[in-house]
């Protein structure tokens, strides 16, 4: 790698990241044995559970001792430690370029976090992939764990600009065939999309056993509307214009946002998906706590 400094990863971040561990609890599917637990049968001797035999299972895995006691066929499964795959979905729609009360745009915030996460994953010899999307997938970087791969990701993040409208659901649908192995899905977005649609698109991933983290990013002004007089609001994505007095709609806006978040949270909980909100004024390192 010829480049030694990147916009979205700084030396102090690297120092701090050295104290973090990613994917301790995550169950991964990979080729590197010993580090992460895997539900694939392998060389591991770590007992997992008993499972009733179903046609097609390997008869060699049947625990005959249990058969002797219970007269039923059970398989004894072991957890296999393997290397982890982390798939980062970075929303780069125009709305992510919004910045008012926060120090940086949401996209910059997300890029900082994505860069750090990528470094962390690669530093642990795990594999990381990156999907930059708006209404479609703009860039897809297949999973990799090399320094060169990390350099490509960081460079892509640096060159990334806010684009068109958001369609997370569509992007998830399109990315599904591209991701071969299950792993951890980290989605960084402002989620200005219908919650039901998002989770509908996530279902295939969940079905395949992906662990999903939804990181919902906000500028503080989006939580309560900016303190302004009569203003013409121009939509960053659609260019749509609307003249309102924010003060008169603040409560309704808060209420609407609350409902939107509740809806996302409820759906996430029902599917055992991790859902976290963060403000661009907060440190992105707190998000690693959620991922740990």
């Amino acid at each position: 790698m010829s480049k030694t400094s990147y916009k979205y990863i700084r030396p102090e971040d690297i120092r701090r990241l050295s104290h973090y561990e990613f994917g301790v609890k995550a169950l991964v599917e990979g080729y590197l044995s010993g580090r992460h637990r895997s539900k694939e049968r392998g060389a591991s001797i770590e007992f997992s559970e008993y499972r009733q035999y179903t046609p097609g299972d390997d008869p060699a895995l049947v625990d005959w001792r249990v058969f002797a006691r219970t007269d039923r066929h059970y398989l004894k499964t072991f957890e296999q430690e393997t290397n982890m795959e982390c798939h980062i979905f970075l929303d780069s729609s125009a709305s992510m370029g919004f910045q008012d009360e926060g120090p940086i745009t949401k996209l910059e915030y997300a890029s900082f976090f994505a860069a750090c996460l990528s470094w962390l994953v690669v530093s642990k010899n795990d594999r990381v992939s990156l999907q930059i999307f708006d209404d479609k997938i703009r860039h897809f970087f297949s999973p990799g764990s090399t320094r060169r791969h990390l350099h490509q990701l960081l460079t892509a993040l640096e060159n990334n600009e806010p684009g068109n409208e958001t369609s997370l659901a569509e992007s998830l649908k399109r990315a599904h065939p591209l991701i071969k192995r299950k792993g951890t899905l980290v989605i960084l977005s402002d989620f200005f999309d219908e919650p039901e649609e998002i989770f509908k698109a996530l279902n295939p991933y969940l079905h395949r056993g992906f662990r999903v983290h939804l990181l919902h990013l906000f500028d503080p002004a989006e939580m309560k509307l900016p303190d302004r007089g009569l203003t013409r609001f121009v939509d960053l994505e659609t260019g749509d214009q609307l003249t309102i007095h924010p003060e008169s709609l603040r409560e309704a806006w808060k209420n609407e946002m609350r409902q939107h978040l509740q809806s996302l949270r409820r759906l996430a909980a029902s599917r055992q998906v991790d859902y976290t909100t963060t403000l661009t004024t907060e440190s992105w390192f707190k998000l690693f706590d959620r991922l740990a």
């Binding site: 709305s95 992510m96 919004f98 949401k106 402002d190 200005f192 500028d219 989006e222 900016p226 302004r228 007089g229 009569l230 203003t231 013409r232 609001f233 121009v234 939509d235 960053l236 994505e237 659609t238 749509d240 214009q241 609307l242 003249t243 309102i244 008169s248 709609l249 603040r250 409560e251 309704a252 806006w253 209420n255 609407e256 946002m257 939107h260």
Partner: protein
């Protein structure tokens, strides 16, 4: 019940009430832009709250507009007037409105009179007056109603239609008319005088009214400049010259300002136009003379003018002059009186003199000189009023007192004046009095002595008049022993020189004719007030001379494009008199038969109205000075209820409701 605004001049403030509406309209049209991450939620919220939010917006706009309106209205100090009646008393107000010529002076955009009418109209509208009347202060004051009446709308209508008159103001007469009308009514009585309080008219006037009449003085104008240049008089010397007589046309221009002025005076007379540059000192007067003579008898008109200034009414002056072919000397004496016959012979020698002997005094209009032989103290007041020269030759038994009365002096002895006679061959001689003013025109010819003694000859009788006379009496001829022979005071001449041939050799002397001619013309010269002039404000009248049919006469205004004035006929002792239906305004008027002018009359701007300076009404004794706005306020306050504080309360209430409404956030409709 009606509203009244004490500060109506601030009515324009109400325009500010459109500010919230304009803000509402224009602020929404171009508000600042703000790029936001997502407006879809905002659209959704708006959709949910639209049902409540739009009415809320309009309600807020209404409340803000009402609050501002209430605040602005409070500044106007509105008053609520409950009805027109005060408990137990009726209010009668008479407005004495000055419409004399000085009220045509411009004050701001309009003239003083318009302002006066406007103020009176506002007061009439104030609603506190039960009955009223308007007395016009002009040359011939009159009132709109014969007595105060309740039809205030009619009075206001008349105020809107009236115009200022180019007349002087008869103050006492107008005040008398107003107070007489007020004395006839009961209840609260008020006299409101609205005038410019012109200094020349009001400085010595005292407002004296019967008790119980409240006088209020409302001054109009006075703030504007009172600078004015005016032709104050135009006359000729003599007033009625005879054909060929040298005539002096005198015009006086007065400068009513602090700075010297220069102007051009022009004189139009009989188709000729003469002009002269004139300098008039500050607050001074300049006299401009033109000399001319006329070759044909009859009436002729002339106009003097200067460049128009802001007060234009007095920039021209007119004169109608009667050029006489002969002057009429009438002797009141027995038909065969020898002295009278001497005058007949005198008239025969002078082409411009006509003599007639009559035993009864003639009417003033039929005589130019009256020679009263054998005067026994008869009253000459009627001739004095018409400024006709009267020569009075005393009769036996006339007292000193009667002579003193003749000259208007204080009564002296009631004893008869002694009458002296001389024997046949002797007599008294007379000559120019040692006390005579030799520069007097009548003596100018004789003062060098070249033309001899004007009273040459011997006089065999005379009256023993007192030798000492008041300074005002002009001594022309004295007997050698100091006894006065000819005394004159203005147009009154006391004659103590016998004209009868048997008692005097004077009529036969060569100096008799020129002296008598000079005496007659000079005595008449003093008269310059007898021009044919009608006072502005009075009606033009003329009694047609014989041979002119009244039906064929029409009256024309010479300046106003010859417009015809309506006339009416009136029977008088002297015949049918024609009267104009309208009052005379300054200008020249022609009485015409067909296209021929048979008579002319002139009417002039009253010169006393040219001085536009005003006096502080406080300096005029009597009454209270109130400016019109204060009067209106007092009128309303007296009978009305101020409610500006209620408006302030209402404004605060509106603002409170506005705050509550704006704080109230509608809950989005769950169905939306």
């Amino acid at each position: 019940m009606q509203f009244f605004l004490a500060q109506s001049s601030w009515l324009w403030l109400l325009v500010l009430a459109v500010i919230p509406i304009l803000v509402h309209l224009f602020a929404r049209s171009n508000p600042p832009q703000y790029h936001f991450s997502n407006t879809a939620f905002l659209h959704r919220i708006l959709k949910k709250t639209a049902r409540v939010r739009k009415p809320q917006d309009w309600l807020l706009l209404l409340l803000r507009t009402l609050a501002i309106l209430a605040l602005l209205a409070a500044f106007l100090q509105p008053l609520l007037i409950k009805g027109n009646h005060l408990a137990g008393s009726q209010r009668t107000t008479i407005f004495l409105i000055d419409r004399s010529a000085s009220m045509s002076a411009k004050s701001g955009g309009s003239d003083r009179f318009s302002l006066a009418c406007q103020k009176a109209s506002e007061l009439l509208k104030s609603g506190r007056i039960d009955q009223s009347n308007i007395v016009w202060l002009d040359a011939f004051p009159d009132s709109i109603f014969p007595q105060p009446g309740p039809n205030l709308d009619y009075l206001r209508d008349r105020l809107a239609r009236e115009n200022v008159r180019q007349e002087s103001g008869a103050l006492s007469s107008a005040l008398g008319m107003a107070t007489t009308q007020l004395e006839l009514v009961k209840g609260k009585r008020e006299l409101v005088i609205i005038s410019d309080f012109q200094h020349s008219a009001w400085q010595d006037f005292k407002l004296e009214t019967p008790p119980g009449i409240e006088i209020t003085k409302v001054a109009i104008g006075g703030e504007e400049t009172s600078e004015n240049l005016a032709i104050t008089s135009l006359f000729t010397q003599p007033a009625e010259p005879v054909v060929g007589q040298k005539l002096l046309i005198v015009s006086r221009i007065k400068n009513f300002s602090d700075t010297p002025r220069r102007t051009t005076l022009y004189l139009e007379s009989g188709g000729n136009r003469q002009s002269r540059e004139v300098n008039i000192p500050a607050w001074g007067e300049t006299e401009v003379n033109f000399q001319t003579h006329f070759t044909r008898p009859g009436l002729t008109s002339m106009t003097a003018g200067i460049a128009e200034d802001t007060f234009s009414g007095d920039d021209t002056r007119h004169l109608v002059l009667n050029i006489r072919d002969v002057l009429r000397l009438v002797s009141v004496a027995p038909a065969d009186d020898p002295a009278a016959k001497t005058l007949t012979r005198l008239a025969a020698s002078l082409s411009w003199l006509e003599h007639r002997i009559t035993q009864t005094p003639p009417p003033p209009h039929a005589v130019d000189f009256l020679f009263f032989h054998h005067w026994k103290g008869q009253d000459f007041t009627i001739y004095h009023e018409h400024q006709i020269p009267v020569f009075a030759h005393p009769a036996l038994g006339l007292t000193h007192e009667q002579v003193a009365t003749f000259f208007g002096l204080s009564p002296q002895s009631t004893k008869p004046i002694a009458f002296d006679t001389k024997p046949q061959d002797t007599g008294w001689k007379a000559s120019i009095s040692a006390k005579a003013n030799l520069d007097s025109p009548v003596l100018a010819l004789f003062k060098s002595g070249e033309f001899g003694n004007p009273a040459e000859g011997v006089f065999k009788n005379r009256f023993q008049l007192s030798s000492s006379w008041d300074e005002s009496i002009e001594r022309l001829i004295d007997y050698q022993d100091g006894i006065p022979a000819l005394l004159r005071k203005q147009e009154r001449v006391l004659w103590n020189l016998s004209l009868a041939p048997e008692f005097s050799t004077w009529p036969g002397q060569s100096t008799f004719l020129p002296f008598m001619a000079e005496l007659l013309l000079d005595t008449r010269t003093r008269d310059h007030q007898r021009a044919i002039e009608t006072l502005p404000g009075s009606r033009l009248s003329w009694t047609p001379t014989d041979g002119v049919s009244p039906e064929s006469l029409s009256l024309h205004h010479a300046q106003a494009h010859g417009s015809i004035l309506k006339t009416e006929t009136k029977m008088t002792t002297t015949g049918i008199q024609l009267l104009s239906e309208e009052d005379a305004e300054p200008g020249i008027y022609h009485w015409k038969v067909s296209e021929g002018i048979v008579h002319q009359q002139a009417s002039n701007f009253p010169s006393e109205e040219s001085d536009l300076r005003t006096i502080d009404p406080d300096l005029i004794a009597g009454g209270e000075v109130v400016d019109s706005s204060r009067l209106l306020r007092r009128a309303a306050l007296g009978d009305g209820i101020p409610f500006w504080h209620w408006l302030i309360t209402a404004a605060l209430l509106f603002l409170l409701i506005e705050a509550l409404v704006s704080l109230w956030k509608p809950k989005p409709s769950p169905s939306a």
